[in-house]
């Protein structure tokens, strides 16, 4: 039995992968192993928690059962079918189980929270490796309970809770409880559909997050994608000039024409300069890498990242002498400031200028 469940569990994990953070993925392997080995007696605390949770589960389900029995034939039938196969149960007897459900709901929501919370505290203090252990241990007793297969329903409830927690980066232990219903993804979002009760806030919340996850898996896995760039290499050329060695490289990285960045840099630094044969930018004046970085950062902020969603997947195009920044992710489009060097004070020798003019 345990083996079977393990397999199912793995499948489930696979399904849930996108919704989990990377951290969790890592944990998965050790956790499965432990479970397989039955590493029960490793962590007392965890076991205690687990026991408590299972007990709660039992107490919660019992009254519900009684009621169900009162209903008579339908329920007994259902019981049988449930033992035969888990998955059908959920789909079939929604209506029959209405009462049951309601009862359990209240009991379970609480249980889920209680069971999960101490777990969080414990695990937070421990290191990762240790964290894995309690998960495994907790899982075992739970599995045994499940073997009895009386209540599919109970599982479901918990599951929902669990998904909520996941969102907030909580315990993996909880996840382990949500094995065998592989179709839970569908049902979890709309548990209230067949029933008379109203949906709860949590359910709606999970539903919305599920939808979001399914529609764009990127968003879930990547916390914010940070815009990383290689630092500009600035080297002094002689005493009066600086060379921006990887200038064209950086332009390519930013997907901007070299002239645009060039104009910006020159205007911002108030100097003159040009690109030499080796594709590096020679600027008049002494500049250090740090200074160049700050200027580049300003450029990126204004001309590369989308002003609405801050993604860097944008492109610049010119329209009526104005530059527009179009975001490829959110499709927003906004004009950006034109590059103007503004007032330039005379820094050269005036005599030279006069000589040139004549």
């Amino acid at each position: 039995m345990t083996d079977e469940i393990q397999v199912q569990e793995e499948d489930n994990e696979a399904i849930f992968d996108p919704s989990m953070k990377k951290k969790k993925k890592k944990k998965k392997t050790p956790f499965d192993l432990d479970a397989a080995l039955g590493g029960e007696a490793q962590n007392d605390e965890a076991e205690a928690d687990a026991d408590a949770s299972t007990e709660n589960v039992d107490s919660g389900t019992k009254p519900a059962e009684k009621e169900a029995e009162g209903d008579g034939e339908t329920t007994t039938k259902k019981e049988k079918t449930s033992t035969d196969n888990f998955d059908d149960l959920d789909l079939e007897d929604f209506t029959a189980m209405k009462k049951k459900k309601k009862k359990k709901k209240t009991a379970f929501v609480m249980d889920g929270v209680e069971a999960a919370l101490p777990e969080v505290d414990d695990s937070a203090s421990k290191e990762q490796a240790e964290e894995d252990v309690p998960m495994a241990t907790e899982e075992m007793p739970d599995m045994e309970d499940l073997d009895i297969t009386k209540q599919k329903k109970k599982k479901k409830k918990k599951k929902k809770r669990i998904e909520d927690m996941e969102g907030e980066d909580t315990v993996d232990a909880v996840i382990s409880k949500e094995e065998d219903n592989s179709e839970l993804k569908d049902t979890s979002g709309t548990t209230w559909v067949g029933t008379e009760r109203d949906y709860t806030y949590d359910e709606l919340l999970t539903r919305v997050f599920d939808i979001m996850r399914s529609k764009n898996p990127d968003m879930v896995t990547g916390e914010k994608k940070r815009f990383v760039m290689r630092p500009p290499q600035v080297v002094r050329v002689g005493t009066k000039k600086s060379s921006f060695v990887n200038f064209t490289e950086i332009c390519k990285m930013l997907h901007r024409p070299t002239e645009h960045l060039l104009n910006f840099l020159l205007a911002e630094l108030g100097t003159s300069g040009s690109i030499d044969g080796n594709n590096q930018l020679i600027i008049k004046g002494r500049f250090q890498q740090k200074q160049m970085e700050s200027v580049l950062r300003r450029y990126i902020k204004e001309y590369v990242t989308c002003h609405t969603c801050r993604s860097s997947e944008t492109f610049l195009h010119k329209e009526n002498r104005l530059f527009f920044l179009q975001c490829e992710r959110c499709q927003s489009r906004c004009s950006v400031a034109s590059i103007k060097s503004g007032f330039q004070a005379l820094t050269g020798k005036r005599a030279q200028l006069r000589a040139k003019a004549n």
């Binding site: 911002e268 630094l269 108030g270 100097t271 500049f287 160049m292 007032f343 004070a345 820094t347």
Partner: protein, 112 residues
């Protein structure tokens, strides 16, 4: 949007928004720039201070406060521009904000 339109009417210069911004005092940017001179010497220029202020008097105070020299330059396009010797960008910025010569959103500091 409606505000800018009003302004454009006042200035009797209807047209694209850019021109409106240019002529309205409220949105006018004050640019603080830095320029490198020979060696490690620099110049700070402040362009776009509202014309209702007497730049010469501002300059006088600035020179004393920052212990630097400076002048007011007339420019055909940009009007009167204050030039200060040395890198006074942060000082002049604080100074202008403190005296309320311009608002924080107006100021744009350029350079490294």
């Amino acid at each position: 949007m409606s505000v800018s339109q009003d302004i454009s009417l006042n200035y009797s210069a209807p047209g694209s928004d850019i021109f409106v911004n240019e002529s309205s005092n409220a949105d006018k940017k004050v640019h603080i720039r830095i320029q490198q001179r020979n060696g490690r010497k620099t110049l700070t220029t402040i362009q776009g201070i509202d014309e209702c202020y007497d730049l010469k008097r501002i300059l006088k105070v600035c020179k004393k406060e920052f212990a630097c020299n400076g002048t007011v330059v007339e420019h055909a396009e940009y009007g009167q521009v204050i030039q200060l010797q040395g890198d006074q960008r942060t000082k002049i910025n604080d100074f202008m904000l403190k005296l309320g010569i311009c608002k924080k959103a107006q100021v744009q500091v350029h350079g490294f």
